[in-house]
Symmetry: C2
């Protein structure tokens, strides 16, 4: 056991929200309450932005019911930011704020950029002789963090997307018309992890199940192959359900659709996102094919109704593990998830250096993409399937999910205001 | 009690699917099994199209588990069609098919057009001396059927849309940035019923709750007012969440967006649907405002995960009631839903003439739209709120909803093939 460090906890969230990032927050809060050396539990509003501006709330003041409710409330209850600490002055200010509020434990829930921020804060605090422990907690729907087997947030978004594919399949099937194409555009930026996850909708030994074609950002888009792919599916199936990652690129690595109204390398005009773009190609090259394109956008990452219980539990576990690691003397680390070797899926936590996480991107393994470029191998299914198991029971009031809003009892600022540029 | 008419049941589904149209089918099947004078229970595939082509399945052959599963399986298990009986020859063929298969009870689950079809079939059968009973069962997410208080399918789609607004609200709130606009485009064609339903996401006595602005097809779109509306919301709120009906029209009654790339009456280029159109207007007229537009499309009407238990139960009840009415000697009627007078919501069934239903459209009452044109009155909330109560527990397998596919045991055709033109 490390030497006991008495003081306050600060926890903050950063980057794009997920369905389970608040479960990690709940894990941090509830575990912190277990340890006598932790005096106050503060939440920083809007990530580092709120830290620079001393916008803290007292999380111990929140009703237990609210903390429990965080487990099924999507997005970030503390608010997030996309702000990057750019100047030395910013970093210095953060450490000054920590000193003023006796912050000895800092937990930062976020993706690559956030872990990089945590790393820099941790190193500057050490350099300035402020003893504290900094632990990162992973989150991102994009699943592109290195070192960890998978990232909290990913299981829920792919459970939702695969559920949507199943629902749309019922719809398309019912329409009873040949030459119908449904296109579902999903998030994931330059990574195909989410688009790949949609393929979980396919039942094993049912090759006819949708999605029939998955277009991944990892596979450069080829117009002729695309037209051939669709022709082939419509020969065999009554309809074709396509899933496309928003970050689909052409052979030169440029996004096929940027929603800015410009033309692509094929000279086709762009109508919006990648899904609308594929729709326009089909409309231009096929006659008699009815095409519909759907773009649920951010509602994917907020879709608590279809969240994965496994994901929620692991997000909570990651929050708990961060607190335990810090009390154990660890610092400048991020919690990682790894799976056991056995046949049955098990998930445990470990730690990795923040600096190791900050600078890498985990790609979808090339050999998990089948040779056709539009479907995923069994290895992928084996990897992703355990992450979507279990459903979350969300309390409803008047027929709608009763998400939690924190009371947000402010902590009085102790320093002069700071100008954020 | 009417004279007993012994023979077979034919049930079919038509028009766009909903989350609960299969619950009505289950109601028809399970109630039919209770009556000795009903010999066979046939399902017609793809609406009248399948009737013309004698594509029937034997529903009594389906496992009970499958019929039970219909209650939570979205879309139309029998398949639908948009085919209209145009020629006298078609109508005559339908009656010929009925005679060949001794169809004495015909139940048609659908919207206006389908009820019109049922009406014409019923009248021709009577004219040709074929004794039978024809009962329509209402369905449409658009909620625009007359005579009935509301339509099965509507409660589920607005529960889903209002849930999505709540989820997106968490997401937008978390982003912690001023001048953020989220736009959610919803279905409903020329009727604002679904867009209006999104306003249920607002908690009572929380005027700050989203949706902040609802643009209904019933209110002609005015650019200047739109820009003022947004300016006003962004003055008071951190973000602005807009819901827009896909059928939004300009002052001349033309759709503001037709996704065909043409220009509108303001000379703005069109980028897609109504939501993308509003996004383009904001991007052109505001600087520093970040806008995101979401178009979930058909996934709304198939969103079984957020279906309303009240809606499922009423859809089932409508199916049951149709069978009971037919056995009671009724024909050429559609089942309607009406609500009791008491304070607590109750729903019962009644009957209306098919001809009365077929030619009307139920509009959103003008006095349920507030004077601002972008919000709904308490009367609307009082009307719609009971329809979204209760959640449906969908069995999951391997982490995904286990929707039912019917085994579809074919009934042998008895007539010569018929050419559908």
């Amino acid at each position: 056991m490390a030497e006991e460090l008495t003081g306050n906890v600060l926890v903050a969230q950063s980057g794009g929200p997920t369905a389970v990032i608040n479960a990690s927050l709940a894990g941090v809060i509830e575990e912190s309450l277990n340890h006598g050396c932790i005096e106050e539990i503060y939440g920083g509003l809007n990530g580092v932005l709120g830290i620079l501006q001393e916008r803290f709330i007292d999380l111990a003041e929140e009703p237990q019911q609210a903390i429990r409710g965080l487990r099924f409330t999507p997005a970030s209850a503390l608010g997030t930011c996309r702000f990057k600490l750019r100047k030395d002055a910013d970093l210095h200010r953060v450490v000054e704020v920590f000193k003023a509020h006796n912050i000895r434990y800092f937990f930062y829930i976020g993706g690559n950029d956030s872990q990089d921020t945590a790393d820099r804060i941790s190193k500057l605090a050490a350099a300035e002789g402020w003893e504290m422990r900094v632990i990162g907690i992973p989150k991102t729907v994009d699943n592109d963090l290195t070192v960890t087997d998978h990232t909290p947030g990913y299981g829920s978004v792919i459970k939702h997307v695969a559920t949507t594919v199943r629902e749309l399949a019922c719809d398309a099937e019912a329409m009873g018309q040949h030459d119908l194409v449904y296109i579902l555009e999903v998030m994931g930026r330059s990574a195909g992890w989410i688009a790949a996850g949609a393929s979980l909708a396919k039942r094993r030994d049912h090759p006819e199940d949708p999605p029939h074609l998955v277009y991944l950002p990892e596979v450069p888009f080829d117009l002729n192959k695309f037209l051939d792919d669709i022709t082939e599916v419509l020969k065999q199936q009554k309809y074709c359900l396509i899933v496309v990652g928003e970050g689909l690129v052409d052979g030169n690595g440029n996004y096929v659709a940027t929603a800015d109204g410009s033309s692509d390398s094929f000279g086709h005009s762009q109508l919006g996102g990648a899904g609308d773009y594929l729709k326009s190609l089909i409309d231009q090259h096929f006659s008699g094919v009815k095409t519909r394109s759907f773009r649920p956008g951010h509602s994917q990452r907020a879709a608590a109704a279809n969240a994965s219980l496994t994901d929620v539990n692991e997000a909570y576990l990651a929050g708990q593990a961060a607190v335990r690691a810090a009390l154990n003397g660890e610092t400048d680390k991020m919690v990682t998830l790894f799976r056991g070797d056995g046949d049955a899926y098990t998930c445990e936590t470990s730690l990795a250096d923040l600096s190791e996480v900050a600078n890498g991107v985990k790609h979808l393994p090339a050999n998990w993409i089948n040779e056709d470029g539009t479907s995923l191998s069994y290895q992928f299914v084996k990897y992703a399937s355990p992450l979507i198991q279990g459903e979350v029971d969300i309390p409803h009031e008047h027929g709608l999910p009763q998400f939690v809003k924190l009371g947000k009892v402010s902590v009085a600022p102790l320093l002069q205001p700071y100008e954020v540029s």
